[in-house]
């Protein structure tokens, strides 16, 4: 695979391309033949629904009112983008993305470094760390919901005990926007940090230990080694981990749906799409919102790939 990836890289001149060796050509053909069927199926199952959604988003169309279906061109987009509810959901989503990403990166990095250094019990440790990630999101959502609930949850009891009675026993976490978001973010961080740490661990393995040794001999402090040697060397893996998690977090749905159902301004963009399409059966508006969410995801991927120069073909190789 690596030869194919290199052969398709854009740093070949036109002349060189024309004179690709037979072997390279053959490998490229084989590559297409191997990946082709999967590629076509991908197009069928993703491109068609995406195009259909774009088409539907141009209509005022309610499933229970087929006769009232009306072409409104971009009206749905204008309505959505000028609606306070959309921007409220956008802000909520953005807050969740930023907060969870920062915490996951820091904690994930720490866990990755521990896992990298630990010799015994390496495998057991890696398995244990993965447990939260293996739990279904809805289940973990319910666990956190019950843990934080007034009366039956243990959060209030523990906080009450730790602060020697300073924290109220009947604090309603789901009574306000910020406290609800705190629990939602905590649950999200708990669940996905393992994934982050595994990706970062793969990056750490790429770092040349000789460089680290050399830096140590030169008298570099731990912090200097971390920022000047380790981080630059694992930049590719770091950016891929960030990209994956950002795209994941932007589409957050399960946790807020289970815990608040969108009350107290905790509705995220995905939930808004769900409300419009599933409960209101406003297919047109729902599709428009889904397309907007899709564009947001595309933009984020573009920013990462172009601006931060994330190369998805080279990372993860160790």
């Amino acid at each position: 695979m690596s030869t194919v990836a290199e052969a398709t890289k854009g740093d070949l001149t036109a002349e060189e391309k024309a004179h690709l060796s037979d072997r390279a050509k053959g490998e490229r053909n084989l590559g297409w033949r191997l990946a082709g069927p999967a590629f076509i199926i991908m197009l069928l199952v993703t491109l068609y629904p995406i195009c259909y959604a774009i088409y539907l988003s141009l209509f005022n169309y309610r499933l229970t009112d087929p006769a009232g279906r009306k072409m409104v061109w971009l009206q749905n987009y204008l309505t959505a983008l000028s609606d306070p509810l959309f921007w409220q959901a956008f802000t909520t989503t953005l807050i969740i993305v930023v907060v969870t990403l920062v915490f996951e990166l820091v904690i994930g990095m720490a866990i990755a470094m521990v896992m990298h250094r630990v010799v015994w019990p390496r495998r057991t440790l890696r398995t244990i760390v993965l447990i939260p990630y293996s739990i279904v999101t809805v289940v973990s959502g319910f666990s956190w919901l019950y843990a934080a609930q007034v009366g039956t949850g243990f959060f209030d009891h523990w906080l009450h005990a730790i602060t020697f009675g300073g924290f109220p026993m009947d604090y309603n976490w789901f009574g306000g926007r910020w406290s609800s978001l705190a629990i939602i973010c905590a649950s999200e961080i708990w669940k996905t940090t393992p994934f982050m740490s595994l990706l970062l661990l793969a990056g750490l393995a790429q770092v040349d230990s000789a460089q680290e040794e050399a830096a140590k001999v030169d008298g570099a402090t731990w912090w200097q080694r971390f920022t000047k040697v380790i981080l630059p060397n694992m930049k590719a893996a770091l950016m891929v981990a960030l990209l994956f998690r950002t795209l994941d977090a932007v589409r957050i749905y399960d946790n807020p749906y289970v815990m608040t159902g969108g009350a107290n301004k905790t509705e995220t963009l995905s939930m808004l799409v769900g409300t419009e399409t599933v409960s209101r059966v406003e297919i047109g508006m729902g599709s428009a919102l889904a397309v907007i969410l899709f564009i947001i995801v595309l933009l984020i991927a573009l920013i990462f790939v172009k601006l931060f120069k994330v190369d998805l073909t080279t990372s993860g190789r160790s």
């Binding site: 005022n60 309610r62 499933l63 229970t64 009112d65 087929p66 006769a67 009232g68 409104v72 009206q75 749905n76 309505t79 959505a80 609606d83 509810l85 959309f86 009350a263 808004l272 409300t275 419009e276 599933v278 409960s279 209101r280 059966v281 406003e282 047109g284 508006m285």
Partner: protein
């Protein structure tokens, strides 16, 4: 590679066989040949849920009774729908829109009958059965089953809210409960006696039920032309009646008589408030009497729903369940026959006595088991004279006056918008009706998100 082939082929073969057999099994489920036809009835949770025993007496029991009586023509299997009315709507809607062939019978909340009927999701009621389904039914239940002048579903059980009160509290406040009382009188009485009034004002369908009852009680209508399409719909919320409703909600909240958790109070919470020592009054469905667990049950009595405007008869909320047959049902005729059996007077009476859910049939109220479940209670008037009030008769009278929620296909959206804009109750003011009205119109016309 070669070595792997035989087992793989084996797996593929197994998969194909499995698919083929499950496909056959699925075909066998909807047999159209000999033997009884299998009807599926999607029921809302009730006392029996999926338990078909006589002791429970829920919808599952009626399904069994009617299956047995059909002489082998059909066999009804029940499927349980989710708890909340909104979730029931979503499940039914998705199945109906997807053309599910098993939608033979379904228990539908009257609030959503119009939406489904307008979308053409119901099989038409056979012409020769319309009279049967309308016979001896309370008017409000027929109204709720009708869309665009046609009967679209079968009235099954009919719910209505009553004003429940503690006789001791009413006596202390000097209220004459033998005559209709107004919301203002109730609020004053609760303040005087330092008791509370149980209402439903959480962000859910029950809050819309209250708002609609207050508006219709003042002679208004939330929707003027329920059969209109979304671009031609006219709302009557921004009116004197709408302002009366807003005033009462605000007053119940600001005087504190709605209790500390009024904004998150659903039926259960309001009933618990009524049972507690602070409880004095409650507006709620008839199941209240059976579900009242307080020691002083002899102190509990009921009266007609409170008036919004003094002197104008109240319009109590209408609820209940209508039976409908899906458009893609393979056995529509049999399903309507089953619906006729399920809603027979005897079955309705039995269901009412067991589940506490009132019948839509007037004759059912004369059955001894119904009169036992909803007995006579002694009520003392202001002049000290004792009169007997039969709860069963009171429910019937309330059903005659009851007003259904607007029978428009857009009620789902209108209701959600109402709940959102009237929450929290203490923020309601005289501008709420007009701002809510313009918001609802924007939502319906695709100019605002909900």
């Amino acid at each position: 590679m070669k070595r792997l082939r035989p087992p793989r082929r084996g797996i593929a073969l197994a998969a194909v066989t499995l698919m083929a057999t499950t496909g056959l099994a699925a075909c066998g489920g909807s047999n159209s040949g000999s033997g009884p036809a299998h009807l599926t009835w999607y029921i809302n949770p009730d006392v029996g849920n999926a338990d078909a025993s006589k002791a429970k007496g829920g919808q599952a029991y009626l399904a069994k009774v009617c299956s047995d009586q059909s002489n082998g023509k059909y066999q009804i299997k029940v499927q349980l729908l989710p708890n909340s009315a909104s979730d029931q709507r979503i499940q039914l809607l998705r199945r109906l829109a997807g053309g599910d062939k098993t939608m033979d019978l379904m228990s539908v909340d009257p609030a959503f009958v119009s939406e489904f009927a307008a979308a053409g999701y119901f099989a038409p009621v056979p012409k020769n059965m319309v009279a049967t389904f309308k016979k001896d039914r309370v008017q409000s239940s027929i109204d709720a089953s009708t869309y665009d002048g046609k009967l679209m579903s079968v009235p099954f059980w009919a719910n209505t809210q009553l004003l429940w009160y503690k006789k001791s509290v009413a006596k202390k406040a000097g209220l004459d409960m033998t005559k209709p009382v107004t919301w203002d009188q109730l609020i004053k009485a609760a303040q005087q006696t330092k008791t509370q009034i149980g209402v439903q004002a959480a962000l859910y369908e029950g809050y819309s039920v209250w708002i609609n009852a207050l508006v219709t009680g003042a002679g208004g209508k939330i929707v003027d032309n329920p059969n209109a399409t979304y671009d031609k719909i006219r709302l009557g919320l921004n009116s004197a009646a709408g302002k009366d409703a807003a005033r009462i909600i605000k007053k119940v909240s600001s005087t504190g008589v709605g209790g500390p958790a009024m904004g998150s109070s659903e039926e259960t919470q309001s009933l618990n408030l009524f049972i507690s020592p602070q409880g004095g009054f409650l507006v709620n469905w008839p199941y209240t009497y059976g579900a009242y667990t307080g020691k002083d049950k002899s102190d509990v009595a009921a009266a007609m729903y409170p008036e919004t405007v003094a002197g104008k008869a109240s319009r109590p909320p209408y609820g209940g369940i209508q039976l409908a047959v899906g458009k893609d049902s393979q056995h529509a005729t049999l399903a309507y026959q089953a619906a006729a059996c399920i809603t027979s007077v005897k079955n309705q009476a039995e269901y009412m006595a067991k589940s506490g859910n009132p019948a839509s049939s007037k004759a059912a109220y004369a059955y001894p088991e119904v009169r036992k479940a909803f007995p006579d209670v002694q009520v003392v008037g202001a002049n000290g004279k004792t009169i007997k009030v039969s709860l069963a008769d009171l429910i019937r009278k309330s059903l005659d006056l009851a007003a259904a929620r607007p029978l428009t296909p857009y009620w789902g959206d209108i209701s959600t918008a109402l709940q959102q804009r009237f929450s929290p109750p203490n923020a309601v003011n005289q501008n709420t009706p007009s701002s809510t009205q313009s918001f609802i119109l924007n939502v319906l016309n695709g100019k605002a998100l909900l």
